[in-house]
Symmetry: C2
Subunit: 415 residues, 2 copies
């Protein structure tokens, strides 16, 4: 019996899923491996933290996605090591041989060796972290409701976001609007006392993402909403009760949110792969490893440049790379040369808040309601699952008209 | 300044919430205390475990419920002790003095000293337990999909429910239907191999709940669905890989579900309260403590009889007692005598599965589609929150017509 070539795809993020889709119907068996049994729609993690949507609305079972793809199967496992010489993926369960391998393990939080950041700050790069932050925000309000010491109450009601990239900007706006929506829930708290600070090390928010006039627009909108934006403010250390700035200032707070950025998961360095800045793996322009042409590295994990600068660590880039990796494997199967990956920047949108977003598509830029409704539309379109879209749409509409945040639970740990 | 009497209500279950509602607008300040910031609609916990509805659909923020009740506030805290002499509730945070106290802390799982039950069996009495069971069911399927040892695979696909009361019956039916719905998701598993066993120590399912012919109907429907019901089967011990029966039989399984029943939380015994069977607190017929007429004990925590038998530990009983406790406090405020609580059995319904339930209202009994649709209607009516009702209704309809279980995530622990 002739066995079909086995393609193992590690990581069910955007890159991994689109690789599998590109290989649907090809004469290969595809095995998608992930430690979770669901895909996380990461661009909306901050909305989970801000109780705008539920955690189950931005996740989708991998097996539901694979149902229609006959030649693909799923394995829930944690990849521990890859033996590139013998072409075997070693997981916490079984060992999986491969003919082709696509590594799409994504990124982890970048703490930059700032003391206390890994221990006390709340990152926002996966679902558990988003839920932990949501729990923290509501715990702070519950405590503040009965706190008699004004200093401690102010500390509980002060939220400091470190990092003025898209996650920091989006979280700042969403958190400020959440606090407004909580006014009715906490009659004993003067919610005007609550503060949202956004600390950014550079001079411009959303650096490298949108042109300068959109950066200024973003700054002004956030300030108008009530976010206290501090530019050129560098965090020096994080403690459970304060953020220490490098210039000596101390901001008392129970909640430091870490939106400084991500880096590739450095585990690949232990597997002997050549890495560059942010632990990204050096790849050929075809996304293959130089030494192992049967191995592709894509998404946040791959060091890919366009016109001399690294391409952004965003979902559209991972989707495009996944598609190209799948097609290149198809080409290799029939003896053709893999093609060069060419990043196509479809544009960027950053959500700021109600009726406010900053968008760039090609040379066109737009802001305000038009950019805001575009953000909602694009994310609703890409969000997997009809049920998820329906509930998210309902929640957004209700939040918009009635200022109601639906999912305000402090969830405890399942035993 | 004249201070209004303070009523402290401990527990935001059905009893506590209906006490607060009964006291709305009364010349008292009500403080509702619960360790969680949400109310759990416990009759639908088994549907969370069976991935029929999401955890956030059967929970509702307490503060949302209290919004319209001006004289009520909420404190999220764990009650550690009550000093009845000095009228103070001691929590993990502050100490709260009271003029009236309503204890409505509900029930916990009853393990009956069966070895291994507390360690290895999955109870189903709160939200974390329901999520833990859902995780376990899906973990078993993910492992079974790649298990090559047929014995171990069978063990992973065998689910044993201990206890043939309403929770056991409802979980058995829901689990069997979940397994059917998973056929498409796990093409490598022959789901006909999966077994659901329901062990019941007595001769009749749903004992004391419905009349004998409904018990027989329930048994037949479960068997027709494919549930293996074992009557007069007493669990002797639970291990991580098997259920040991008292008659010596061993059932290899990775998942023992503990539906044996509940008892009142025995912490009240440490507070010096007189207790009776199942740790329930002895109360006057007015629901007051004999020694402390300003203290009411209601719901699963109270030992209340009707016609010589204990009233059931169900939501309608707690709701009725909460209402009476509230009214009795109002009577005490104006110098009137508290009235006797009189349980009114509105009827019982147990869900079995698709188009199948067993219901009794007064002397009327009915089964099948009519009982099934009544169960859905009654639960949808009492489920708090318009959004929850909408999503649950959508999920039920979709499940009914398309056999789709919406929420199949294995959620990890928030850090």
């Amino acid at each position: 019996m002739h066995k079909r070539p086995q393609v193992v795809v590690v990581g069910a993020g955007f890159g991994g899923l689109w690789t599998v889709r590109a290989l649907a119907g090809s004469p290969v068996d595809v095995l998608l491996v992930d430690r979770n049994n669901y895909h996380t729609f990461s661009p909306m993690l901050y909305q989970v933290a801000a109780a705008q949507v539920g955690p189950e609305q931005i996740t989708y079972p991998v097996r539901s996605i694979l149902r229609k793809i006959r030649n693909a199967d799923f394995l829930m496992a944690e990849v521990k090591h890859v033996d590139f010489t013998n072409r075997v993926v070693e997981t916490d369960g079984s060992e999986i041989p491969y003919n082709f391998l696509v590594l799409s393990t994504g990124s982890i939080t970048q703490f930059l060796n700032i003391p206390g950041s890994a221990e006390y700050a709340f990152p926002l790069d996966n679902l558990e972290q988003a839920l932990a932050l949501r729990n923290q925000i509501f715990n702070c309000f519950e405590q503040a409701a009965y706190e008699t010491d004004p200093k401690r109450r102010q500390q509980l009601l002060t939220f400091v976001i470190v990092g003025g990239g898209p996650t920091g900007v989006e979280m700042a706006g969403a958190l400020l609007e959440l606090i407004r929506a909580l006014r009715q829930d906490y009659p004993t708290i003067d919610t005007r006392l609550a503060r949202v600070l956004l600390l950014h090390s550079g001079n411009n928010l959303l650096p490298g993402m949108v042109p300068p006039h959109l950066q200024r627009y973003t700054l002004k909108r956030l300030q108008k909403m009530g976010v206290e934006v501090h530019l050129e403010a560098k965090a020096g250390a994080i403690a459970p009760d304060a953020v220490y700035l490098q210039d000596g200032k101390i901001i008392p707070t129970a909640t430091a949110i870490w939106a400084v950025g991500v880096q590739a998961d450095p585990i690949v360095e232990q597997w002997g792969l050549p890495t560059t800045a942010k632990s990204k793996v050096t790849v050929r322009t075809t996304l293959q490893l130089s030494e192992y042409p049967e191995v592709y590295v894509i998404g946040d994990l791959a060091a890919v440049q366009k016109d001399g600068t690294p391409i952004p660590m965003v979902a559209p880039a991972a989707i495009q790379q996944g598609t190209v990796a799948g097609r290149n494997i198809q080409r290799q199967l029939v003896g053709k040369n893999p093609v060069t990956f060419n990043y196509w920047n479809k544009g960027t949108i950053a959500m700021i808040g109600r009726n406010a977003a900053a968008a760039q598509v090609g040379k066109l830029t737009f802001t305000g309601f038009l950019a805001w409704i575009s953000w909602l539309g694009v994310h609703l379109f890409y969000l997997p699952g009809f049920r998820n879209r329906l509930i998210v749409f309902f929640d957004w509409v209700r939040d918009y008209f009635f200022h109601v945040r639906s999912v305000r639970l402090i969830l405890r740990t399942p035993p």
